[in-house]
């Protein structure tokens, strides 16, 4: 009911704003082909599209937001996404302990801008004096990865060989061998996978036994009153801000729709278990009433 009414009201208010839209030089995703059969389709926001098209469409979204990505995140979440990421890194508290022999192999998937990757490295250095562990940053989108590389060149790791950038599809990871990574992180990325389960299965494949899978992703609010307010905010204000700041309404419309489509906490936990992971208690941790949630899994 709530969703419907919000969608309805947003739909009505949408038209005049769309008509005002500036002529954008940005690449907007091409209109999806009509779906051909039920089995070959997936969702792209609230639209139903052919599976082979989703990757391209998501690619279009992120290519067009890449340069403004961080600014927009800051504006939309009032800076809270930084707190979430900080908490995520603290919760993992990963790093080679002083008495251990083997450095860790980190893999940050969909880590385009490198927030999590550099945060993890800095945390390992500060807390455990770990100057050896290696980081691989993988992203399907070369434009997002370029943003990360620009930032990397300014960082203190730029003259070491500890960080590597790879253009990789998270569902297959064909350049990353089996049992090769210790820590797999993905922040606000898994939602955009065409086949989320395939992404989880691949995470299981690339991790060493004893490796840890950690995911920070938007989730669902349990409290219906808060949820109503949150939905109203995300469906009416966010796309408008996307239009005003990044001059790209469609991409931000996609972002909020994809958040709504992502499985609930318990459901996603079951998917992690299905991939073969052991999920320790508590299965997940809600952040800000469940706007986002952290999930982890251990490969035993």
């Amino acid at each position: 009911m709530f969703q419907q009414s919000i969608k309805g009201s947003v739909g009505k208010s949408l038209k005049p704003i769309v008509a005002l839209r500036f002529n954008s030089s940005k690449v907007t995703p091409p209109p999806p082909q009509p779906p051909n059969s039920h089995n070959d389709t997936t969702h792209f926001g609230f639209k139903t599209v052919n599976k082979q098209d989703k990757e391209k469409l998501v690619g279009g979204v992120f290519s067009s937001v890449a340069s403004n990505y961080d600014l927009m995140n800051d504006v939309m979440s009032a800076g809270i996404h930084r707190l979430w990421k900080h908490h995520f890194i603290k919760k993992l508290n990963a790093g080679k302990r002083p008495n251990s022999v083997e450095p860790l192999e980190f893999l940050d998937v969909a880590g385009g801008t490198g927030d999590i990757a550099f945060g993890l490295l800095a945390n390992a250095e500060e807390n455990f004096g770990d100057y050896e562990s290696k980081m691989t940053i993988a992203d399907i989108n070369p434009d997002m990865l370029k943003e990360g590389e620009l930032r990397y060149k300014k960082s203190k790791w730029s003259d070491s060989d500890r960080v590597e950038f790879l253009v990789q599809n998270g569902e297959t990871m064909n350049k990353i061998p089996d049992n090769s990574k210790d820590v797999y992180t993905i922040a606000f990325g898994i939602r955009n996978f065409t086949n989320i389960q395939a992404g989880l299965n691949t995470a299981y494949r690339v991790l060493k036994p004893g490796g840890i899978f950690a995911c920070l992703e938007f989730s669902q609010i349990d409290n219906p009153v808060l949820d109503y307010a949150y939905q109203a905010y995300s469906f009416s204000i966010l796309p408008l801000m996307g239009q005003l700041i990044a001059n790209d309404r469609d991409s931000y419309q996609y972002l909020v729709e994809s958040i709504r489509k992502f499985p609930k906490q318990e459901e996603f936990k079951k998917m992690i278990e299905k991939a073969g992971f052991y999920v320790p208690e508590p299965g997940y941790e809600n952040l800000t009433f469940g706007v986002a949630a952290i999930h982890i899994g251990i490969k035993i």
Partner: protein, 234 residues
Amino acid sequence: MLKRLYHSSSHIGSNTIINNNLIESKIFNNAIKLIPKYGFSKNCINESIKNLKYSDSLQSIISWQSDKSYEFQLMLYFLKQKRQELENFTKNTKVEGVDEYEKLSKLIKYRLSLNSPIINELSQGMSQLILPYNLNESIDELYNLSDDLAFYSGDKSHSFDWYAKRFTIGSIYVKSELFMLNDTSENFENTQEFVDKKIDEFKMLSDTYNNIEQWAIFNGISLINLIKSQLIRG
């Protein structure tokens, strides 16, 4: 997630304190063996993971499960493990005793004897428990212990002394444990004597309480009867 708010002895297996098959339990069980070497410190957990040939990535499981320090988590796990051992002990051996006080005294002595391998480090661990920000969980655990001690000694109370008993048992346990820290006698004989003395006081106190209660009820009824008889006489 719903937390179970009741405890039932008829649901077998639903109240296990620790599950030894879990990977985090394996890390902690091994870490506890290292306490005499490293004290209650992070090193126990670091070395435990190393000894078990796990990768350091598993450290995340410990920081994931609680925001508390590793030292406190280790101490809390130690307490839970020993409470589990106490439960196993009551299942495998019949605790003999003329009344529940004698059984209680035996159970407390058994539980204290489990501290002996790490007695030199115990004060370190206990200092973690009394830090203000850890107090909540420590008191929960102490309550659970005194509840178990009362239950396994055969306590059947169902009125206000249910609370009073658990409170008193908890305080006897803490006093005895503190006494034990400074006890240098062989096999902690002085501590055992101390426990006996405290339990005797407890028994005397509850006898006194019962006597006063009986006296008060008797006099109360007498008073009502007296009033009634005066009323009938008009």
